[in-house]
């Protein structure tokens, strides 16, 4: 079943990364091109359009060739090579996409320096004092379902523990053959709930940060910008809640296999692949329809008022890393990408990142301790 492995990597990693990278300049806010801030109407400038389309074509050309190469390598090489090649290939792909991006970033930067787009415009920042009274995210009560999910999974574990086979299948190859068994113990039935609790923490944190993230209004048409940004946050909070729930359900199904109710061990492969596939597709659909910051949501549009966003380029290293000691924000919108990044000048950003690493290590250690 090597074909399944290669094809799933292809469809869940390679292709999404390829298209995500190639079309990103069309998904960002129109006020940010390759991490460089521009007046919104400059987005349609012929030179800026050319930089975008050249980038897109080169990324697609490289990506397709690389994907085909990976596909054949994955299918034809000895299995051990395939196992190593697929993740490394994904990494290589990411690095090369970054190089293409940096090239675009440099081009935009020098174009901006040459042109005087900002010269006759007033740079301002706007805030809506009622922004956080708007419906920015789905109800937090959805997280109750996570708790229910963990409870049910624990319930399944303890109910069927007695009749569980002595040897529990824990690791599988891609044909569903068991490659490692664990001895039956309380630890084995605690593994899935542990992962569910971990997912709950991660998703609750993401959900919280979506509400917390800095308010960013495009000042050339503030009213639309406020509403599209609200919709953007609302949709991604829904995505966060429901993709997390999907994962909780996935581990519930896994629990059923561990206790031996689902006999077909192939489910341990197919179920995670299916769920990841659905989540990836949902993320793509959401990215295309919503755009970064809600930039692709069309609302009745009032005319540009002549204001332009305050130029903060000097705080954005390569247009990717935000470092602004004067800004108390922790989470800000990415300039090139969908979602949020950190203000790395805020110590809380580092606290959260270290916290995340500690949490991951902790979960790793505990699962070792559970002997699974």
């Amino acid at each position: 079943m090597r074909v399944l492995l290669v094809l799933s990597t292809f469809f869940i990693c390679y292709l999404p990364i390829l298209f995500y990278s190639a079309f990103m300049p069309y998904l960002t806010r129109k006020t940010e091109s390759f991490g460089v801030s521009i007046p919104e109407e400059i987005y349609d400038d012929p030179e800026v359009q050319r930089i975008r389309s050249t980038y897109r074509s080169s990324v697609l050309a490289f990506g397709v060739v690389f994907a085909i190469f990976s596909l054949f390598t994955g299918l034809a090489a000895p299995l051990t090579v395939t196992y190593i090649f697929l993740p490394i290939g994904t990494l290589i792909q990411l690095v090369i996409m970054a190089v293409f991006y940096l090239h675009g970033h440099r081009q935009m930067k020098s174009l901006k320096e040459k042109s005087n787009w900002l010269s006759n415009k007033q740079q301002v920042t706007m805030v809506d004092t009622d922004f956080r009274k708007r419906k920015l995210f789905v109800s937090p009560l959805w997280f109750m379902l996570y708790v229910v999910g963990v409870a049910i999974t624990l319930g399944i574990g303890f109910t069927f523990y007695e009749n569980m086979p002595f040897r529990v299948p824990m690791q599988f190859d891609f044909s569903g053959e068991v490659t490692r068994y664990a001895e039956k113990s309380t630890g084995t039935i605690l593994f899935a709930p542990l992962m569910q609790v971990f997912i709950t923490f991660i998703m609750a944190f993401s959900y919280w940060s979506i509400g917390k993230a800095k308010q960013q209004i495009d000042v050339s048409h503030p009213e639309e910008s406020i509403e599209t940004n609200r919709i953007f946050r609302y949709r991604w909070s829904a995505f966060t809640v429901f993709s997390g729930l999907a994962l909780v359900i996935m581990f519930g199904i896994m629990q059923l296999t561990i206790v031996g109710i689902i006999k077909n061990t192939l489910s341990m492969i197919v179920v995670p692949l299916g769920f990841s596939g659905i989540i990836v597709i949902a993320a793509i659909v959401l990215s295309i329809t919503t755009g970064q910051g809600g930039s692709r949501i069309r609302l009745p549009f009032s005319k540009y008022n002549g204001y332009v966003n305050r130029d903060e380029d000097r705080h954005w290293k390569w247009g990717v890393f935000y470092f602004n000691p004067d800004d108390p924000s922790i989470f800000v919108e990415k300039r090139f990408g969908i979602g949020w990044t950190n203000n790395f000048a805020n110590p809380m950003s580092w606290v959260f990142m270290i916290g995340l690493i500690v949490l991951i290590v902790f979960v790793g250690v505990v699962s070792k301790f559970l002997d699974v």
Binding site: Q122, Q123, V124, T125, M126, V127, D128, T129, D130, F131, R132, K133, K214, Q215, I217, V219, P222, E223, I226, Y307, R310, E312, N324, D326, D327, P328, S329, I330
Partner: protein, 131 residues
């Protein structure tokens, strides 16, 4: 209400914040009991130092425009919090004196100057009639 901060302006940011909030109250966009973002939230959304927002809020608080509650956060006051007092009269006199001086130097007559004032008062009255 949408606040607009111009970073290239000669006016300090805290003054811009303060005057716009007062204008918002006069225009009836901000009403008694309406909440404002906390100092931290406002500073983060504007991407500016906490002290700057704090300064603006302190002035607004001193002048009776807002109250900072421990639980309810920052709220717009009722008109009773901000009657005309001697302090204010002195400040008004000083501010008007520089405005009138310039108008006078430019050859504007008294009537024209008063008309602008009347116009503004009429506008505010129609927008927030209860005051």
């Amino acid at each position: 209400m949408i606040l607009k901060i111009d970073f290239e302006s000669d006016l300090p940011i805290y003054i811009q914040l303060k005057t716009q909030i007062i204008e918002g109250i006069a225009a009836g966009v901000l009403k008694e009991g309406d909440p404002l973002p906390s100092v931290r939230q406002m500073a983060s959304d504007l991407g500016i130092n906490l002290h700057t927002v704090n300064k603006a809020y302190t002035f607004l608080k001193q002048d009776g425009f807002i109250t900072v509650h421990r639980q309810k956060g920052v709220v717009i006051n009722s008109i009773h919090g901000r009657r005309v007092n001697e302090d204010y009269l002195a400040r008004l006199h000083k501010d008007l004196s520089s405005l009138a001086a310039e108008a006078y130097c430019r050859g504007m007559n008294e009537e024209e100057f008063k008309n602008i004032c009347t116009e503004l008062f009429t506008k505010f009255k129609s927008q927030s009639p209860k005051w």
